[in-house]
Symmetry: D3
């Protein structure tokens, strides 16, 4: 039995990036935890929509069998205003409390600055000096943010891990459809059809019907 932690800057990132892998692991008997880092606050965000979004997240996680979800409630799109030690500390707390075997974090090269700040804090939280060590750390891709940055090699998502999600792609799409406020129609990057195209593209690269792709950041074994 493995303990897996997925850290998502905003709700739905965890499903966009790792939904198929999460469901696959849950089916195999592993424990999957999610940490949602931010929350929208007025006046930048509508309180009602934020509330609805939280409910959608909870319903989604319950439906697929997430063991527990941690909500850190930092202010969305304003993460750089939070003191670094406080921000890093809270993410470290989650990691140290759970002592997960595997951690999935957003790609450091995503355009959305929240993603970058979360990725940095995650790297601090998985430093190999903390015992027990996190054995594997992966970066996941988030359709839209991951591709909209300036196309240079620092940003680029260059995957080397491919997880076969042939058997869970349909459930991933269903999980994503819980997020009524974020999911749009194709060709929007956050549409069910776009997610399916990505899964089939990543799959075909590796001769699989559907896949999620990751960058291995570190493995200790």
């Amino acid at each position: 039995m493995k303990k897996i932690l997925v850290i998502a800057p905003h709700p739905d990132d965890e499903i966009l990036g790792c939904g198929g892998t999460m469901i696959k692991n849950i089916k195999e008997g592993n424990e999957v935890y999610v940490c949602i880092v931010t929350k929208g606050y007025p006046p930048l965000f509508n309180a009602e929509r934020t509330e609805l979004n939280r409910k959608d997240t909870m319903a989604c996680h319950k439906a697929i069998g997430v063991k527990e979800t941690f909500y850190l409630d930092f202010p969305s799109t304003q993460l750089e205003t939070v003191p670094r030690f406080e921000f890093n500390g809270k993410i470290l707390d989650v990691v140290r409390r759970l002592t997960p075997d595997e951690v999935y974090i957003p790609h450091w090269g995503d355009m959305q600055k929240d993603h970058q700040i979360v990725a940095e804090a995650c790297m601090v939280a998985v430093r190999p000096k903390y015992m027990p060590q996190v054995k594997r750390v992966y970066g996941y891709e988030t359709m839209s943010e991951t591709a909209w940055n300036a196309p240079n090699i620092q940003n680029e998502f260059i995957p080397n891990v491919f997880v076969d999600i042939s058997d869970t792609l349909e459930e991933k799409k269903m999980a994503l459809s819980y997020f009524k406020l974020q999911v749009s129609d194709f060709p929007d990057a956050r549409s069910l059809e776009a997610i399916e195209a990505l899964a089939k593209y990543r799959g075909a690269l590796m001769n699989l019907m559907a896949a999620e792709a990751f960058m291995l950041i570190r493995e200790i074994r």
Copy 2:
């Protein structure tokens, strides 16, 4: 009216990488030329299949309206045995005779060594010292070869040009289906379904129904 040249190491690379863009340009009244660099020779390749493949290529190009196809007939999978000045010279001849406005070449980072050698020779052929200058040079991606190399930044296909092929994706798939010997069933990387997934994935990144992606290598204007 633009003159466009697509250089393909092996027949079908031009359709895999640029088929939608080729058809789109032809419909818009531009002239599209193709240069097929290699041919399979016995005993490495079956002569009958090579012959059939040539016929498929000709039928495909006729169907979509390629203005002229140049067959250089260098030995497939053995390009490194051809003297460099002879090889580069032949590709240069095609470029200088046509004086195209735009040239599409395979991605330098493809795993197949023929692709790398062709890409290098193309760069020699489009050197800006030759007048009239080629105004735009693009690298295209070839499903399978482009993704099977070791995932490092030198190899990586990092596109910055997206061509809307919403209106020509179906014709691209039809064009590809002429290559009976190369096209397989999904999830093979050279299947119609994989090509469609790629087009939708590249499209969704840019809010388009379908797209082909390229790396701009050089533009002079």
Copy 3:
């Protein structure tokens, strides 16, 4: 007729990076707009000099025929103190109001942090989800800032677009000379002679008498 927007962190960056291209486009009948992002405020900057600099900018833009200049008046060298959503929002406003065909932004790897912050905000403002889409986004080089960073591959300005400014180099130099407070004597990087050397160097690379070089960040067509 094309609409072109040049976004400059500080006045004179637009001329240093794109002056020849701006003038060339204006002569060809295209509309060129400029957005000056910052302004110097006391006590860090002398108010009189700031005022004079504004006048120089206006005179320069008028002389070369800029259609309209937007002054956002954010505090120079203190951009990180402005709330991100406010900063990004203002730049987005300009882009959405103009709906330009082409946008020129500072190079993300410039050493000056204002340049980096502006480049990031520009990438947010040109996200392909906004309709109508910006068709082309380019990064420009700013002599001095672009070369003074640590010489690693993330910072490096690696151009792939070369615009022939043989016919507008003299006017570019004249335009630059309006900025009396910034222009110095050679070998200062912001001297007329340095700008000419750069133009001739970029030109000679492509067999042109003079050129401005850019990195294509994205083209959708």
Copy 4:
């Protein structure tokens, strides 16, 4: 039980790069195979030394419990003279016959050209279209070759997998000492003391007493 294949351009590369990991796996009950790609031929190499080297290799592999060693006997330092299809074919044969779970290959950026050619052929041999698929492919570092190339990012060995060899470092050193012709005194890069320093350095990075570091090239799961 896992099947592991280590591909070494020259005998001793497998121990330098993966010795501790090989021994660890053998102790855990996994099967470890080695493929030695080249052999020295007169007049470039002394026949007697080559013979002795072969005996050392066999003795070493027997001592640590390698299941089987494949000797391809291609000419050392002349690999580029072997026809590509023949060379790639022989390495593919080994991979397809064994159907290993994990393959360790030399780092593509090593300075020694034999290493580069072997790395390329290995990537062809592990293409995901061959069933059953190789689940994991790793690049290993070879003290000396890996660090003597021009220090650019393409060459650089940037590890993301760290294997704890605290319990097998001593046996790795013993295994290496079988190669009497290659091992020298410190500070030679191929000395026992250098290998120990590398293991402790890689270990300390990850809070381990000793480690071998690898670059994950691909994982399919």
Copy 5:
């Protein structure tokens, strides 16, 4: 006689990264200066420990013969809260007052954000427009921080300068042992044994008994 300045985000970074080179230069009659950028403040840091740490630093520097040490006393782990112009200004002051021939700065890719911010400010301070120019700027590695970031090519420490510290490694270890609060037991990355392994590893790469490695950022001569 050369004047050398080492800029350290936190006390002990200067010894970890450049200790052997500092001592070697002092022995050769050169003047070595250190600038310690931060200090720990309550409540994040214990005042007593901070005080003790300062004393250790002073004792260490005195023991090895540092000419003068500058303490800027900016708040450790909170550097992003200091106004940029103030922060950059203070580091610039030190550089301009000393007019050193060589400056050693932390690696821009270190994970610790203080290191990144210091590296950026240093690059501003050594801009070639300030006369007399700093002739050489080097980045140094800090065991732990330098290796714990996500392993991508932007972060990677890729050295091209190797200083033979065979004769000063022992003194470097002694110097490091002054920092009682930071030095731990192996395999901690900040242990004497880890530092020795690093020195022997870097040395063996270049056929030296022990070496410190640097990235040359800029040389003007």
Copy 6:
């Protein structure tokens, strides 16, 4: 007194890339040696022109005071046909015979394949295991070849060493003018005016009247 060796694939590369630095060193009393690697052979090259070119080279080197020039006479544009051990061996011979302090080699990313092959052989010849060690190895840029490759980060010439050639630029241009067959009119990349623009551009970056730029590949000290 330093011994400096410049390795040039074809005659004139040494002047294009290092001419000002060579002359500066000679004036300072250092010994400068040149190794010309290739020669044009019929039928690819005209014998008379080759002869004339050799005379031009000798006259140029004599004029500026090159201590000795080594002509290896390998076949130009056909270097890949020479056995690797023979080719590497000849370059190694020159290096070991001279035991230079500094070696200047062509940039590994140049488009011309001869340049790449020479650069690789040079790296083999300066391996740190040979005593006495070469203390410094630099890559130089060759106007035209260095910029005509596909603009990716592997190829890119990213200089970190700037040599002030304010006092020798005129002599560099004179030295270059000896090569009557290669030098053309501006805007040809191999014209005196282009070389001057490059020198002033590289100079202005560093606040110098004129400079040659290099990439430090390795320094041992």
